[in-house]
Point group: C2
Chain length 229, copies 2
């Protein structure tokens, strides 16, 4: 059995036919054309060629059916497609649309090993809930995410994400201490570390490090800033 590298187009035809085969209508010329955004006449030609290559059973005006060989290839591609898709949506948090087109573009170049590692990384993050939460928070401050400028109390600013101080609604005593440390509206601030029970919180501002109670931090309003510290 020859192992010749199939073109990206051929792979896309097979993947599409596989998907359509699973519908009651089966894989028909018109549906394939619509799915791949080409003219029906182009599909006719492709179907003929795929049949000659032993990947498909098709006769004019009929329904395309994958041969075992064709099905094998198609499932392979479909696997790469969903592997990448999952990474883009679940791990990177991208929209289904962007994930879809990017996955379908890249699926033709991804090797089994690369796919495997990508899946492993996704699993790794998901298997560490606290880390995954942190990553999601960081991600939510990234470019292209909406809403881009979340506002919250300083206590909810995820460690590792920068924030801009909006207001400081604390008592006079703490306020004095904070002002001395430079915690004033407009300044960049970050949470360094949160103790196991969420209290106290280590905060960094203008190069200083200070510690405060969670309840106090909650009274400092911040706006999240894109990017890591």
């Amino acid at each position: 059995m020859k192992i010749e590298r199939l073109s990206a187009k051929v792979e896309d035809y097979l993947e599409t036919i596989l998907r359509l085969s699973e519908t009651p209508r089966g894989a028909r010329t018109g549906d394939i054309a619509a799915a791949l955004n080409v003219q029906p006449s182009t599909v006719s030609a492709a179907l003929k060629s795929l049949t000659e290559q032993g990947l498909l059973n098709y006769e004019p005006y009929g329904v395309a059916e994958l041969t075992p060989k064709g099905r094998h290839v198609a499932e392979e591609i479909a696997g790469r497609h969903v592997g990448l898709l999952r990474f883009f949506t679940d791990t990177l948090g991208l929209t289904p649309e962007e994930s879809e087109v990017t996955a379908c573009g890249m699926e033709h170049d991804v090797t089994p090993l690369v796919l495997d590692r990508i899946a492993l990384l996704g699993e790794f993050l998901r298997s560490h809930p606290e880390l995954n939460e942190k990553w999601r928070a960081v991600r939510s401050t990234a470019k292209g995410e909406r809403p881009p400028g979340v506002e919250s109390g300083l206590d909810e600013l995820p460690p590792g994400v920068r924030g801009v101080v909006l207001s400081v609604d604390v008592g006079a005593a703490l306020r004095k201490r904070l002002v001395e440390m430079g915690v004033t509206p407009g300044v960049l601030i970050a949470v360094e570390r949160v103790a196991p029970l969420g209290d106290p919180i280590a905060v960094e501002v203008r190069g200083y490090r200070l510690s405060m109670r969670k309840a106090e931090a909650a009274k400092i309003r911040v706006k999240w800033r894109p990017g890591l510290i």
Copy 2:
């Protein structure tokens, strides 16, 4: 300025020319052909076409030089190339060779947003040293990684990675308890959670959960197994 989508091939020519431009020889037909694995006659044709598209200044028997427009595109592609490359080598831990060809294949489909997120994820992992270590450990047990079977004390088995017990060198009292729980050579074992200071360690074996001191765990030798739990 028209924003027509350039073909992957054209992007590769531009990227290659950019790289070669930075060498003392400059970008010559033969060198481009060697880099892209095509015949010189093919390059001649491509160079002519690129020049007509205003991406290149080239005249027969000369040295190819990018126009501002061509340089802009080339730098864009080169950026995607290295962005992906870094992800594959640094974050996924793949070989330079595999990373190189995969990056060069995928670079034509990656959007700025996807690239950005990928870079952010890499930064995120690197900015959390303890997590990054854990990830590297998990990675090292994955398919395609060598050496595949690291051996260490149970205390060094990263949470989320399976291990096979090799030997149990503890005192009689603990040994009895462990044997009752099923911790015997050959059994699959995993570390569930490590307390903040690394002690005690929650271990899972044969469906049971038990807690032990780090010092004790160190005396249980294990061989790391591929894949997550």
